[in-house]
Amino acid sequence: MNLNKQQMRILYRNLVRADHLNRMMYQRMLQGKLIGFYHPSDGAIAPGVAAASFLNKDDNLSPHHRGHGITHMLSKGIDIKYYLAEHTGKDTGCCGGRSAFHFSFPEHKVYMMSGFIGYNFAPSVGWGWAAKRRNLGQVVMNCSGDGSYGQGRAHEALLMATNWQLPIIFYCENNGMAIHSEISEMHPTEDVSSLAQGYGMPAMVIDGQDVFACAEAALAAIEHARKGKGPTFVEAKTLRIKEHDMGTPDLRGWEARSEEEKLALMQRDPLVLATTRVLAEGVLKQDAIDQLHEEASREVQEIEDFADSSKIARPSEEQLLAAAFAP
C-alpha cells in the first residue's frame, strides 16, 4: 500500500506535534510541573502516529503507555490540552483532575488507561466483539509495548480475536526493552510477532523509525480488519532513547546504558529520518516544515497555558462520594 503525499503530510505533521509535546512533557516533569511520572517517548513516536492518524472517530484506540499515549491521541484528533490539565491535577482535565496520568476520551473511543501493563488486551476483545456484532466496519487499534506481550492477557486476546476473526490490530511497539530488561532475555525469538504464528494470525514486522513504513502496515491491517478479514499483528521495531521513567536510572539489566549507545540511537530519530524523506521526495519544503514546527510550538504553548491557567480541582469528599456511581 503506497502512501499519497497528503497522507505523508498528515503523518509528518503529527510526528512534529508528537515530538514537541514529548519535549514539553519532559521539560515540565523536570520543572516539577507534572503530577506523578512520565515515561518519555524520545525515539519512539513514529509507530503511534502511524497507528492513529488514519483511524476513524468511531474506531477504538488503546494508546501505548509510552509517552502516556499523547502521540496516539493527538493523531486521532484528541485535543491534548485536556490531558495536560488532567496530568497537572486541574479541574479542566479530561477526568476532572482525579486520574493523575490516566485518561479518558470516550467520545473519541479512547476509553481509558489502567496502570496495569497488559490491561489493554482484554477490553480490546470486547471492543472487537462489539464492532463485529454491529458490523459497521469499526476497527480496534490495540497499541502496547513488547513487554506487555509477557502478560497472559495478550495470549487470551490473540486467541479470542482469531477464533472470532475480530477486527483488531495488535500493534506492538517493540523498543527492545521493558524498564531495564532486554527483550533478548525476556522473549525467546527474534520477533514478538512470532507469537501470532501460534494462532495462524497474519503478522508484519516493520521499521518503527520510519513513520511511513509504519503507516503502510497500519493501513493494510486496518483495511484487512474493516473488510471483516480478522486480526493482524503488526510489530514496529523502535527505540527507547531515554530512561524508562523519569527519575529511574537508565539501565540495561543492571548496568548503566552508555551515552554512546544513546547517541547512536538518536541517529535513527524518526523525525530526522522523516524529514530527510519528505524533503527528498518533495512532499514538503523546508519552509513548510518550519511552519509546522512553529504551529506545534504554538499548540504546545496553548496546551500549557490552558493547563496552567486552570484551577486545581478541589472537590469536597462529599462531592466525590456523590460521583462514585453513575445515575
Binding site: N60, R153, F325
Partner: protein, 320 residues
C-alpha cells in the same frame, strides 16, 4: 403467579431482559449448554451471538463484557463459580471499580458479574468461597445477593438496568429453592433491605442460605424470643437505615454471613453499628461467620459453616 426455583427465576430475568433490550447479552463458559440450569433454553431463543461462550480464559471472557459495556452493551458475565472471578481480579475489581469515577464520572460501565457461590456442595475453598465481601471491599462496584426466587428475578433485572458494575452472586444451596415469582416486569431495587419477620427482642441480619436458617431459628424460638429478621439483600449500597430502625426497637444484633470473620461484610456492618448505633445497643453485636480458614471440603465444611445451631447460640448469647 408461578412457583419457580431460584435458578429458574434468574433464567426468567435473563430471558425478559434479553427480549426487552437488544444490547443485553450473556457471556461465560459453556453457558449455552449450561453447567447450572440458569441459562437453559436461552441460546435456542437468542442465538450464540447473544449467549456467548468463550475459551477458558477468564480475562478475555471478562474483557468481552467490559469492552462491550464501554461500547454501550449491557453484558452479564457469568464466572460459573465465584472463585473463578479471582482469575481476572485486577480487571474485575480494580479496573472495573475505578473506571467510572477515576475517569471523571463521564462514561458508565453497565455490566453484571454473576457466579454460583457457597458451601453445601462439599467442593472446598476454590469452588465454595464467597465473593460478596471481597467485592464489597472494592469501591465503585455494587454488590447484592438474592435470598428468594422473587428477589433473584427482580434483583437481576435491576442489576442489568443499572448503569454501574453490579456483582450478583447466587448461593448454590438455594439453587432448587422454590417461591412465587410474578410474570410481570418488576425490579427489586438495589440498596433496599427487607424485613422478613418482625420482632422486638433481637435483630438478625442474614442473607441467602443463612436467611433461611435465621427464619427457621426465629420460628423455633417463638415464645422465648421475639426475633426480627432482616435480609440486607444489597451489600453495596447497604441499607443502614432499615437496620438502625430495627435496632432502635430491639437493641440487639446478630449478623450472620457466609464469609470469613476477617474482612467480611459482617465486620463492616458491626463497625458501622458501633459508630452509628452504639447508643442503641444493649449488648455487643455478635457475628456468626466462617472462621478464618480456607473452606475445607468434604464433610468438614459442615463443621465450620454458619448454621441454625450457631445462630441460636448467638441469639441466646446476645439476649443473655
Amino acid at each position: 403467579m408461578a412457583e419457580l426455583t431460584l435458578v429458574e427465576a434468574i433464567n426468567r430475568a435473563y430471558a425478559e431482559e434479553l427480549r426487552r433490550d437488544d444490547s443485553v447479552f450473556l457471556v461465560g463458559q459453556d453457558i449455552r449448554g449450561g453447567i447450572f440450569p440458569h441459562t437453559m433454553g436461552l441460546v435456542q431463543e437468542f442465538g450464540p451471538e447473544r449467549i456467548v461462550d468463550t475459551p477458558i480464559a477468564e480475562s478475555g471472557m471478562y474483557g468481552v463484557a467490559f469492552g462491550a459495556a464501554q461500547e454501550g452493551f449491557r453484558p452479564v458475565v457469568d464466572f460459573m463459580f465465584g472463585g473463578f472471578s479471582y482469575v481476572t481480579f485486577a480487571e474485575a475489581s480494580v479496573t472495573t471499580g475505578q473506571y467510572y469515577f477515576l475517569h471523571g464520572s463521564q462514561h458508565p460501565l453497565p455490566l453484571v458479574i454473576t457466579a454460583a457461590v457457597g458451601t453445601g456442595m462439599r467442593l472446598a475453598n476454590d469452588h465454595a468461597m464467597s465473593i460478596h465481601g471481597t467485592f464489597a471491599h472494592h469501591p465503585g462496584i455494587k454488590v447484592a445477593m438474592p435470598s428468594t426466587p422473587y428477589d433473584a428475578k427482580g434483583m437481576m433485572k435491576a442489576a442489568i438496568r443499572d448503569n454501574n458494575p453490579v456483582v450478583i452472586p447466587w448461593h448454590m444451596g438455594l439453587m432448587q429453592e422454590r417461591g412465587e415469582v410474578p410474570e410481570d416486569d418488576y425490579i427489586v431495587p438495589l440498596g433496599k433491605a427487607a424485613v422478613k419477620r418482625q420482632g422486638s427482642d433481637v435483630t438478625i441480619l442474614a442473607n441467602s442460605v443463612q436467611l433461611k436458617h435465621a427464619l427457621a431459628v426465629a420460628a423455633k424460638l417463638e415464645g422465648e424470643f421475639d426475633v426480627e429478621v432482616i435480609d440486607p439483600r444489597s451489600f453495596v449500597p447497604f441499607d443502614m437505615e432499615t437496620l438502625l430502625t430495627s435496632l432502635a426497637k430491639t437493641s440487639r444484633l446478630v449478623i450472620v454471613d457466609e464469609d470469613w470473620e476477617s474482612g467480611g461484610f459482617a465486620a463492616t456492618v458491626s463497625a458501622r453499628v458501633m459508630e452509628q448505633g452504639f447508643d442503641l445497643l444493649d449488648a455487643p453485636v455478635i457475628r456468626v461467620t466462617l472462621p478464618n480458614l480456607p473452606v475445607p471440603g468434604g464433610y468438614m465444611e459442615e463443621y465450620i459453616a454458619p448454621n441454625p445451631a450457631k445462630i441460636e447460640a448467638a441469639i441466646r448469647q446476645v439476649c443473655a
